[in-house]
């Protein structure tokens, strides 16, 4: 196994564990934002100096910089999908509680 394989698999596992273990706390939300910013900066850098990505890719055992970016994108996509899913579930629950409060308010008794 070369460097990139180990690195990618470890980062995928770390993300999944992080997302599933942490309650949806303020802290974890902050980390999501930090990770997003870092991802964006890395993107800007890659646009400005595309050849540098190939250099980094070589260190990690990948041939081309574009491949490295693709792998990074896969991890980021998985992360954002899971995050969105959990977010939606959270909203669904709040929505259900709101609807429940309305329903209980208008309860009708039989004659």
């Amino acid at each position: 196994m070369n460097w990139i394989q180990g690195l990618l698999i470890a980062s995928i596992i770390a993300l999944v564990v992080f997302l599933l273990r942490s309650r949806r706390s303020v802290q974890s939300q902050a980390w999501v934002k930090v990770a997003f910013l870092a991802f964006m900066f890395a993107g800007v850098y890659a646009v400005l100096r595309p050849n540098d990505t190939t250099v980094v890719a070589r260190w990690l055992g990948v041939d081309r910089g574009t491949d490295l970016m693709l792998y990074g994108l896969i991890v980021a996509f998985g992360f954002s999908t899971l995050n969105t899913y959990l977010r939606f579930k959270d909203l669904e629950l709040r929505y259900a509680r709101l609807a429940r409060a309305i329903a209980l308010d208008g309860a009708q008794q039989p004659e």
């Binding site: 949806r24 959990l86 259900a96 329903a103 309860a107």
Partner: protein, 230 residues
């Protein structure tokens, strides 16, 4: 009327069941004083029929799913004075009222907090083959259900006491709530027992039954549960 039915509340979650809800409520009301129907945003007048048949009616303004409807019904029932025993009962007419009475008597012996119906007990007819396979797979995929010694984790018929009703907090709105029920039993260490019940597979209830593929949703939801704020 036996005295133990007086503090009993039967929760009937219903979504577009206008064809059968009247009969189901009438049958329940012939034995139980307190029946609450949770109309889960039906468009066919299910709620009105249930109210006329003698049920208390709580109507969701929008469709939320069976899990949410059960939670709403239990919240309504547990706030009523004198409520001691609670039951969930499907609106499609697949359960028998006499099974609820048996289960309430079982709960009355005081050594358990919740009694769950099972389709795999002695003396009851077994479900059709395909249904049986699905249900037994669901049990195998539920480690907690296995640990608790349960044979049918997806039965809609449950009877429980005030402790369980007060602690109940179903967060899964859809059909995954059966699994969540089992998780809550395990987490709260509620004492559980099973009671063999007859489930009537009428053409109507089979047509409305859960598609097999929904099992995937249930497994994934079960895995992701607990990451949610409570």
């Amino acid at each position: 009327m036996p005295s133990e039915t007086r503090g009993a509340w039967i929760v009937v979650p219903a979504f577009n069941e206008a064809g059968v809800i009247g009969e189901v409520i009438t049958a329940l009301r012939s034995v139980f004083t307190n029946v609450v129907c949770v109309d889960d945003g039906s468009a066919d007048g299910t709620g009105d029929i249930a109210l006329r048949a003698g049920a208390h009616l709580v109507s969701h303004p929008v469709n939320l799913g069976q899990g949410a409807a059960i939670q709403t019904g239990v919240e309504y029932a547990r706030s009523q004075p004198g409520a001691q025993v609670f039951a969930t009962f499907d609106a499609d007419g697949q359960h028998r009222v006499q099974d609820v009475v048996t289960m309430i008597n079982r709960l009355g012996s005081g050594d358990v907090d919740i009694v769950i119906g099972t389709r795999f007990g002695a003396g009851v007819s077994r479900p059709p083959l395909l249904k049986r396979l699905v249900l037994q797979t669901a049990v195998r995929l539920s480690p907690r259900g296995r640990k608790l010694g349960l044979t049918d984790t997806n039965n809609g018929l449950r009877v429980f006491n005030k402790t369980v009703a007060d602690g109940l907090d179903i967060t899964m709105n859809g059909m995954s709530h059966a699994t969540e029920f089992i998780m809550l039993i395990a987490e709260n260490r509620w004492r559980v027992a099973e009671q063999p019940v007859e489930v009537l597979y009428t053409e109507y209830s089979s047509a409305k039954g859960q598609p097999l593929l929904n099992g995937v949703n249930i497994v994934v939801d079960g895995f992701l549960r607990g990451r949610m704020p409570r």
